[in-house]
């Protein structure tokens, strides 16, 4: 078994170990999952380092390539008669997403230190879910991809339903069903790709060699984009997100907003734009329009929220809009920005939800007007919150700035296949969200942390514990490192973006199908 398979399997094995531990030893369970997720973190570091080494050699040849170059490939047949394989590999985007996932699940399992009801099941489901997420980012067979995708969505139902707060059953059901309807669209798209190619394979790299007819791309691309758009909170299919995220327990919100929503942008880019460049050209502007609504709607929605979690969830809708906006811009800046935003928002929102969980664990309220002056009693949490907030409004020096700049530049410059005027106008409209974001972030944080302490119960609250400090510290460090030194990171994702771009520019080169 290769490195990538280990990365996928280790969370699952950890889950199995967790299941085997007796219920009474729930403290041991937390340690087991912390250890399991740190092993993943180490493996991810190894993967990143080795990827840097091996990919440097191909830096020149990739510039004109039409197919993304995969490393650490493991490929063997699975259901032979249907051409289904076990096919995992990694390119720069996969590596970036694996880094994100490893960080979030590590910090998430530390942030769940306080889960004391049915601890065993909680960690088991959380780890199964993460197995699915790693699988999606690393698999290059559509069947395998879909299998992991559904595996990542379903445990959410129980995680929110059992350990959530508020109208948790409603939120869990809404989230699960909406995401699965999205995946139904994706499935139809996959079948269409499979049969139209006539190759009897779900191999993504082989399907990429096919040039699908334009009329085919015209309906399959929106199918796939919308299907993935549901999990990427594409307007108007985002409504599961505020309810789901605010009802979910801390680690689940972190993982869901941080990583799972990125599956949407990742799938739209990796499968939608990569396999169906013509369809992307036809629909690019339309989806730019939809995601502009996303960006504005999310940020205006956040202003009105009284509950910290709803507040962050709406802000997530807005920020995930940037991801899909960048994808729909269809140029180098836009696509790079989309991937950067996936990473940056993942870390940032993970931090947000983690912190909200920690504050809620102390104050037992998430309602903004009920809180005030908390910065005096919990300076660590307040500082972390402010840094996350500043990253969210795109302050230079933090990762959000790098990502959003790319996305806006990409959107503004537009692409040769759609009306540049409209694209630029949409971008200008979308940019206004930055101002709105500044308003809600600063107002919200000021209300919670500044001013006099509103409730005497708050005076005796404690600051972050050690697991919480590690958890927030790791996330903060990532935000700052990527913000100050984005170079290596941009290089990492530029490699695989170039082939996607080349395909857009010269998709006539591909062999036409039938």
């Amino acid at each position: 078994m290769g490195l990538l398979s280990w990365i996928i399997v280790i969370p699952f094995l950890t889950a199995m170990v967790v299941v085997a531990i007796p219920r009474s030893q729930w403290k041991a369970i937390r340690w087991v999952s912390a250890i399991g997720t740190s092993i993943n973190l180490v493996l991810t570091a190894v993967l990143t380092y080795r990827y840097w080494q091996v990919s440097a050699a191909d830096a020149v040849s990739i510039k004109s390539a039409l197919f993304t170059k995969l490393y650490f490939v493991e490929q063997f047949p699975w259901f032979k008669s249907l051409g289904i394989q076990y096919y995992v590999g990694a390119d720069g985007i996969s590596v970036a997403m694996v880094i994100l996932t490893s960080i979030i699940i590590f910090t998430g399992s530390l942030a769940s230190w306080t889960v004391e009801t049915r601890t065993k099941e909680f960690y088991a489901w959380l780890l199964v879910l993460v197995t699915g997420v790693f699988g999606v980012f690393l698999s290059y067979d559509l069947f395998l991809f879909f299998m992991f995708y559904e595996l990542a969505v379903l445990p959410m139902y129980l995680l929110i339903g059992i350990w959530g707060t508020g109208p948790k059953e409603y939120a869990a059901m809404k989230l699960t069903l909406m995401l699965l309807v999205g995946s139904a669209f994706v499935l139809v798209g996959f079948f269409a790709l499979y049969y139209a190619s006539g190759l009897n394979t779900f191999d993504l790299q082989r399907l990429a060699q096919v040039r699908y007819p334009d009329h085919f791309q015209a309906w399959v691309f929106p199918m796939i984009f919308v299907g993935f758009g549901v999990i990427g909170a594409l307007y108007p299919l985002h409504t599961w997100s505020p309810d789901g995220h605010s009802s979910a327990p801390t680690a689940v919100s972190m993982l869901h907003a941080g990583v799972l929503m990125k599956l949407g942008g990742y799938g739209a880019l990796r499968i939608g734009v990569y396999l169906l460049p013509e369809g992307a050209k036809m629909w690019g502007l339309f989806f730019m329009g939809l995601t502009t609504i996303n960006i504005l709607y999310g940020s205006f929605g956040a202003i009105m929220q009284k509950d910290l979690k709803y507040f962050t969830a709406y802000s997530s809708v807005s920020h995930c809009g940037f991801v899909l906006f960048g994808v729909a811009a269809l140029n180098l800046m836009g696509l790079k920005g989309a991937v950067l935003q996936m990473f940056s928002h993942g870390i940032m929102t993970g931090l947000f939800f983690g912190l909200i969980g920690m504050v809620y664990g102390r104050t037992h309220t998430r309602i903004i007007p009920e809180m005030g002056g908390l910065g005096k009693v919990m300076p660590w949490l307040a500082t972390a919150f402010y840094i996350a907030g500043l990253a969210s409004l795109g302050l230079p020096g933090l990762s959000g700035f790098v990502a959003e700049t790319h996305v806006f530049l990409g959107g503004f410059f537009g692409n040769p296949w759609s009306n540049g005027m409209i694209a630029s106008t949409l971008t200008i409209i979308a940019t206004m969200s930055i101002v709105v974001t500044a308003v809600y972030v600063l107002r919200g944080l000021a209300a919670v942390f500044q001013g006099p302490i509103t409730d005497h119960h708050f005076e005796h609250l404690t600051d972050a514990t050690l697991p919480e400090r590690i958890s927030t510290g790791v996330l903060l460090a990532t935000l700052i490192i990527v913000g100050l030194m984005p170079g290596p990171f941009i290089d990492l994702i530029e490699g695989p973006i170039l082939p996607i771009l080349n395909r857009l520019n010269e998709s006539g080169v591909l062999a036409a199908v039938r």
Binding site: S81, M147, E150, Y157, L158, M173, L180, V188
Partner: protein, 480 residues
């Protein structure tokens, strides 16, 4: 040798019936193990039976498809006996009145199994019809087994009437075909069909399909299912939901592939429409069900809708996909019913909301039930997902992309109602003062094995690839 499994099962039925005469009520406990032994021997005989060949001048034939169906029937029968024995032997904490007569019960159960086994091997229309009746009539009796229970009697009566109607359709269809071709052998009939006048042929085909529709619970021929499932004793419902459906599919294979061959190639739009209506109606009605057996009836109806997607494509894709799905379906459904039977035996509860807190009162059974339900809903990596994926891919290949979308959305709807049960088991609070519920090792082992099989068959390609390879050779021989 070819008929050895059937002979063993028939002999077992005879032995059980005779033993019953000489045993006291207390010692009748051994009847269930004897039945299980007979079925196990039949299964062992099946393993050594050659997969091709015929007997009785070609009236009885064996091929890989028949072999797999017999595997399905024997598994269904075996598990049903395990599920029945606690209830019949009086070990259930919650006694059900009016249930007893173990000797007769097992004999009748064995005879329906043997009828089904003959059904798929029949190569001649009279044999086909007689084995169909042998498979169905005992089911009427089993349905009405709780003699002093009004619902059970009503279910039996309803089943008799509808079953007789379906049989009449089938018999009429077969008679017309006989009149048109002058043949009773399936091969002879099929060879002459091309020259038969069309209107009469369409009439016969429509009659047969209607009859099959009743057996497979295809909408609009599904009305009997819910009442019969609800009224029958739970182990019988388990058997009905799997074996009778498998028998319907076996009959459909006989009619669709062997008799009509390529004559019905133009019927795919009709089948697509039936599939769409069946899965949608089954799913939508299942949402509002309250009683878990009724609920499973509608779930089974929608599953039949997915199943017939396999008829849309060419036989070399469709047959292995449908056989695999049938295998997956019976394993998942039996696991669910094992939990239902056990829970009703222990507590007498059969309503969905009465399952609350099961994950705390008995985590193993709850987990087994959840795995099986997720498999029915088609959640990866369980085998139900793989099975559905294959079936949907056939519809996609035949160009029915809209149907794939309908089916995929239906899968989501079905997840909604399967999650209702999961929610009761895992999320809702436990009954006040409820302690842990005991489970006998036989039932626990059955649920464990079934859910393990459900999980593994989706990941290990061996099962599907074997079915695929074997049925491909069969199809080659049929065409060549």
């Amino acid at each position: 040798m070819l008929m050895l499994p059937e002979i063993i099962v028939v002999l077992t039925a005879g032995v059980v019936l005779c033993l019953d005469l000489f045993l006291t009520e207390r010692s009748r406990v051994i009847l269930a193990p004897v039945t299980l032994l007979g079925l196990a021997l039949g299964f062992a005989a099946l393993l050594v039976t050659p997969q091709t060949g015929d007997l009785l001048g070609g009236r009885f034939g064996m091929d890989p498809i028949a072999w797999w169906f017999k595997v399905i029937f024997l598994i269904a029968g075996f598990v049903t006996v395990i599920l029945s024995m606690d209830l019949l032997d009086g070990r259930a904490a919650h006694r059900m009145r009016g249930i007893g007569f173990r000797g007769e019960y097992y004999t009748i159960l064995l005879s329906t199994i043997v009828g089904m086994m003959f059904l798929i091997s029949a190569r001649e229309t009279i044999t086909l019809y007689v084995s169909l009746e042998t498979a169905t009539i005992p089911l009427f009796v089993l349905t009405a087994w709780r003699r002093d229970h009004v619902q059970s009697g009503e279910a039996g009566l309803k089943y008799v009437i509808i079953g007789a109607l379906a049989s009449a359709f089938i018999l009429y269809g077969l008679s017309i075909l006989y009149g048109l071709t002058g043949q009773t052998s399936i091969v002879g009939m099929s060879a002459k069909l091309a020259d038969v006048p069309r209107p009469a042929f369409w009439l016969a085909a429509a009659m047969l399909m209607t009859g099959v529709g009743f057996k497979l619970t295809i909408v609009p021929f599904h009305m009997w299912a819910a009442d019969v499932y609800e009224g029958a004793p739970a182990p019988v419902t388990a058997y009905l939901s799997v074996a009778s459906k498998a028998a319907g599919l076996a009959f459909m294979f006989q009619v669709f592939y062997r008799i009509f061959g390529s004559e019905l190639a133009g019927w795919t739009p009709l089948i697509a429409a039936f599939a769409a209506v069946t899965m949608s109606l089954g799913n939508l009605v299942a949402i509002v069900q309250d009683n878990i057996k009724r609920f499973m009836a509608f779930s089974a109806i929608s599953q039949a809708g997915y199943l017939i997607l396999g008829f849309l494509g060419p036989a070399d894709n469709g047959v292995p996909a449908m056989l695999f799905y049938m295998l997956v379906y019976i394993l998942s459904n039996l696991a669910v019913f094992a939990c239902i039977v056990w829970y009703s035996n222990e507590t007498g509860r059969e309503r969905i909301e009465e399952y609350r807190g099961l994950s705390l009162t008995n985590p193993i059974m709850a987990l087994g039930m959840m795995i099986a339900l997720f498999s029915l809903a088609g959640i990866p990596p369980l085998s139900g997902f793989v099975g559905k994926f294959f079936l949907f891919s056939i519809a996609a290949k035949a160009g029915y992309n809209w149907l794939v979308a309908v089916a995929a959305v239906n899968s989501t709807i079905s997840l909604f109602y399967y999650l209702r049960i999961v929610r009761q088991m895992y999320i809702e609070p436990i009954y006040e003062g409820a302690g842990t519920l005991p489970v006998r090792y036989t039932v626990a082992a059955t649920v464990g094995l079934l859910s393990l099989a459900v999980a593994l068959m989706g990941v290990i390609p061996y099962f599907y690839e074997t079915i695929h390879a074997q049925t491909i050779t069969w199809l080659a021989s049929l065409i060549g």
